[in-house]
Amino acid sequence: MFTNMETPMTDEKQRAPLTIPIKIAQKTIEPPHVGENKIEFRDYSFYYGKFKALGNISLQIPPNQITAIIGPSGCGKSTLLRSINRMNDLVPNVRTEGQIILSGEDIIGPSADVVDVRRRVGMVFQRPNPFPKSIYDNVAYGPRLYGISHRQGLDEIVYNALRQAALWDEVKDKLRQSAMALSGGQQQRLCIARALAVEPEVILMDEPASALDPVATLKIEELMQTLKESYTIIIVTHNMQQAARVSDFTAFMMIDSPQTRTGVMVEYGPTTQIFTNPKNKQTEDYITGRFG
């Protein structure tokens, strides 16, 4: 099935910048201009029942960059991340205020479509969670939801996704084998391929390498650099060195006080600026390891 893909099209077809708008039914979406924010939090607050977990977050995420969210444990980094693809909706009794804007649309308002948001914003979890199906079926799961079958290019999609996730060479001979037989690092890259197969615009990564060994971690970090050319990447990490190594932009969060334990955005900006010349004293304290 893949024999005619020995010389894949990828080498010739560069990732050309999109200048033509894509028609979606009656709606036309202009690609965002360079410089415009991919994601923007406008005064966003999040409540678990009475507990205010996130307080008045304002944050801009630029497109095609890697933004890292750092901060001490329990400050709400993961909650913030999961708000973007609305995974927090699964928890009962939650409430939000403010807006989250993705490519110009509010994704948490009443007119937003959760299923569509989740397709456009992919997520890779802390522990790899492949389905107990074959490698092929894992990657093909998303496209199949849209009715894409073999005739309509399913094989091609799977191939492309696995190549983007730098996993193709390792699994090309065993696509029908169970995904559970892969190593941890390979499973994580499989989860990335699975997310890529539905053509997201943004990829969220919640401490993606924390369950992996250093070699696998390095592979994931290299992968992120390749992926950012086509996707916007937001990563939550405990590991400051990783954030400094990998990201273009960094956002630093903290809880505002031990009593309220509400997470707030302290400072965000280009990584080089945050790590060498932070504007906020708390940021400087955290970076230099005085607490955290």
């Binding site: 099209m9 990828t10 077809k13 990732r15 050309a16 910048p17 999109l18 894509i22 979606i24 039914a25 709606k27 690609p31 965002p32 360079v34 991919k38 497109p63 095609n64 490519s103 479509d113 299923v115 569509d116 397709r119 496209p143 939801l145 849209y146 009715g147 894409i148 309509q152 290019g153 091609e156 999609i157 492309n160 890529l196 539905v198 053509e199 997201p200 615009e201 943004v202 050319e229 086509s230 996707y231 916007t232």
Partner: protein, 322 residues
Amino acid sequence: MSSGTNVWLGTSTKQLIQSRTGYRRRKFTNRIMLTVTALFTLAALAILFWIIIYVVIKGLQYLNLDFFIHLPRPLGMPGGGVLNAIEGTIILTILASLFAVIPGILAAYYVAYNPNTPLGIAVRFGTDVLSGVPSIIIGLFCYALIVKYQGHYSALAGSIALAIIMLPTIIRTTEEMIKLVPHSLREGSLALGSPEWKTAVSVSLPAASQGIITGILLGIARASGETAPLLFTALGNDNYEVGKIIKAGLANHKGIFAILGSIVTQPVDSLPLTLWKYAQQPYPERINQSWAAALVLLIFVLSLNIFTRIWVQVRANRMQGK
């Protein structure tokens, strides 16, 4: 640079992924199927309530004091009851509990502390399998074992059949409850120099006692509703009345064991058995008594079940400090 759209695919595929109509269909299917599951749940609950309400209404119509106090009377004579069945049910239940509870608890104790020995695995497997054996087969077994041997039907045979039916429930529940007792409790007792059996009897089992009682009650609820195993072990007895037996025994100067013997070695009736017999008779009087018996039986079984469930929940809440 592009904002992430995968240009390697044909346009038709892109359109498939981004088409609005596709979304609508998927969300529609989602909504329909989820509603279907809710409807199924409602349907199943509706049947439950249908049965309960019908039994209550019909049963109340024909329930009266005579029902509980008198033996059956011939058709046409008013004031008949099912005292024989009620007493029979009580006797059978007490006997079955006696036969099932102590072996069950002991066996469960062994399994709880030796789960991975061959015997432990065999018992766990065996109780699972035993709980799936049809109750009529167990009746056949007791017939071949006891009735045939003794030459007559008896409450003894019936109660052993019921005991076998109760056994898996008691073993399973007791095993789980014993496992829930904290290790520290048992080790503390052993560390003080108390031997294993004393630890078991005075520490581990009392700690698990509430749960064990729950298991016993559930077993009783199950056994008292059974009919099939009694069909050819206890058989049925229209004239069974414990009071009369005791009086007759005392009048003939029989010892207490002889009296107990005659209580236990006679054929007996039980509520479910009576229900079954009467329901098949073409006389409205008998059928009405069936409904009344059904009501009594239903109340008994359901209240035992509800009671144990609430008790378990209250205990669980208390342990969590709610």
